[in-house]
């Protein structure tokens, strides 16, 4: 697809409900309009940050990885092609950043279990009741206990709202394998949290 075709798409097809789509904004930014990036960033900064936080990373590390992810997007703006949704593209970058971070950590042998449980889900929310906090702690602990592939798939689907097909694209895995990871993750979590039901 040529740049002019993309521009045409940007002017009609990619304007949904008076709002320019992510893909059109990214193309606009690649063409040199930095304000388009600002819009993109405002739209997706939370989901990306949550993605890292839900991995069980500390806020500082999550912010660092957020920074790296967005910088990678900035540097790769010229190579961006509308072959999938922008969110898929952005989360692919985020996931690769996370993997790089984990590889670095494992090389340095500094990764500790504390990293995974440092900031459990919603524990910072002061509006939660004690019971909710307990459940949240249990959920966070169970998610952290998942194998990495299952945890990744679970968080992408449950927290970020991606479909199985989109997760398969992001993780560069086969769709059936993603499905399998999703099923096993749910089974484990249900089993781990069943104590709280009875």
């Amino acid at each position: 697809m040529t740049q002019s075709e993309l521009t045409i798409q940007k002017t009609d097809k990619n304007i949904v409900g008076h709002e320019v789509t992510d893909e059109a904004l990214m193309i606009t930014y690649a063409e040199g309009d930095a304000s388009a990036f600002e819009q993109l960033y405002q739209r997706h900064k939370r989901v990306i940050f949550h993605f890292f936080i839900k991995q069980g990373l500390s806020t500082a590390i999550a912010e660092e990885l957020c920074h790296d992810t967005w910088l990678k997007l900035i540097n790769a703006r010229k190579n961006y092609q509308v072959s999938a949704q922008f969110r898929t593209y952005l989360f692919t970058i985020a996931r690769n950043t996370l993997i790089d971070h984990k590889n670095k950590k494992s090389n340095q042998k500094e990764e500790t279990h504390a990293d995974l449980t440092e900031t459990p889900i919603a524990l910072n929310n002061t509006d939660l009741s004690n019971q909710q906090r307990q459940l949240a702690q249990a959920l966070t602990a169970n998610i952290a206990a998942l194998p990495i592939e299952q945890r990744e798939v679970f968080l992408l689907k449950q927290e970020s709202g991606f479909s199985i097909e989109q997760i398969a694209k992001i993780t560069a895995q086969h769709k059936e394998k993603v499905k399998s990871s999703w099923r096993y993750a749910l089974q484990r979590l249900r089993k781990g949290l069943s104590d709280y039901v009875i």
């Binding site: 912010e63 920074h67 949290l193």
Partner: protein, 289 residues
């Protein structure tokens, strides 16, 4: 709501509604029910500092890129301008050369015409030079020298003419050779001028008409002003003499022995200061043919 109530509610709901077709759907419904217990976590977001850093990086990247693009554009423009200027200069030079050097035919005509003019002028100059060199000289010692200088002048002139008649595009090598020849000739001429001892028996032939003219003139002159002559050299078939005129002019002649006879031959005298002059009447015409 207690989480246990929540879970119980899920179980009651799931049993009352349609039964899940698979375990997967049951598990999904279980997790969804759990997540519904937590309000959306809107407060958890990256810091403003991080926002500013990322936005700044995005603006900087675009600014750097536009600067690079401008630089590239300027570089391209400069290269093009330089190339265009070079082409313009070269074409102007070629055009100028074409103006100076006309086409082949025109140049040939012009060259041939100018060469003819030059040949004419050069020939005239050469003739003048020859005439100047071959003109009668008052001093006897210079006779042979003058003759040789005349020959040299002729050869020099012919060299100059040959050089000037050369095609316009003379190769440098030929031109150097010609220049060298000319230089050598000039040197020879200079040497010959410096050495008057060189002599030669060449002179103009003494004709019957000249003899009669001198005889008539001699008869008209008084005794003290009579025409005199002296022998310079004697060959097997001719005499080489100098005739002294009353107006102190001298002329060299070559007298054929078959036509003229010298009555009183001069006495050999090694003293150059004494001229062995004889009166003109001593030259006797023996043969009128």
């Amino acid at each position: 709501m207690h989480y246990k109530d929540c879970a119980r509610g899920y179980l009651t709901m799931s049993s009352k509604l349609t039964k899940p077709t698979s375990h997967l759907q049951e598990d999904e419904a279980f997790i969804n029910t759990l997540y519904q217990q937590f309000p959306p976590d809107e407060d958890q977001q990256p810091s403003e500092f991080l926002d500013k850093r990322i936005i700044k990086a995005a603006y900087q990247a675009v600014a750097t890129e536009s600067a690079k693009t401008n630089k590239k554009k300027i570089t391209w423009f400069h290269s093009l301008a330089t190339a265009a200027s070079l082409i313009l200069v070269i074409s102007l030079v070629f055009q100028q050369q074409n103006h100076i050097l006309p086409s082949a035919e025109t140049s040939t005509n012009v060259v041939s015409t100018s060469q003819k003019d030059k040949q004419m002028s050069t020939k005239m100059m050469a003739d003048e030079a020859v005439a100047a060199f071959s003109a009668p000289e008052p001093m006897m010692e210079k006779q042979g020298v003058i003759v040789q200088q005349s020959a040299l002048a002729k050869s020099l002139t012919s060299t100059v003419i040959a050089l000037k008649n050369q095609p316009r595009k003379i190769e440098n090598k030929d031109y150097r050779q010609a220049t060298e020849i000319q230089r050598l000739n000039q040197q020879k001429l200079a040497v010959s001028k410096r050495s008057p001892s060189v002599k030669g028996p060449v002179a103009q032939k003494f004709t019957l008409a000249q003899y009669q003219l001198y005889t008539v003139k001699n008869a008209q002159l008084s005794v003290e002003n009579k025409i005199m002559w002296s022998l310079i050299n004697e060959q097997a078939d001719s005499y080489y003499i100098t005739i002294y005129l009353p107006d102190n002019n001298t002329t060299n002649y070559l007298l054929a022995k078959t036509q003229f006879k010298l009555n009183a031959l001069p006495v050999k005298n090694h003293d150059k200061r004494i001229l062995n002059k004889q009166v003109f009447s001593e030259i006797i015409l023996t043969n009128r043919q």
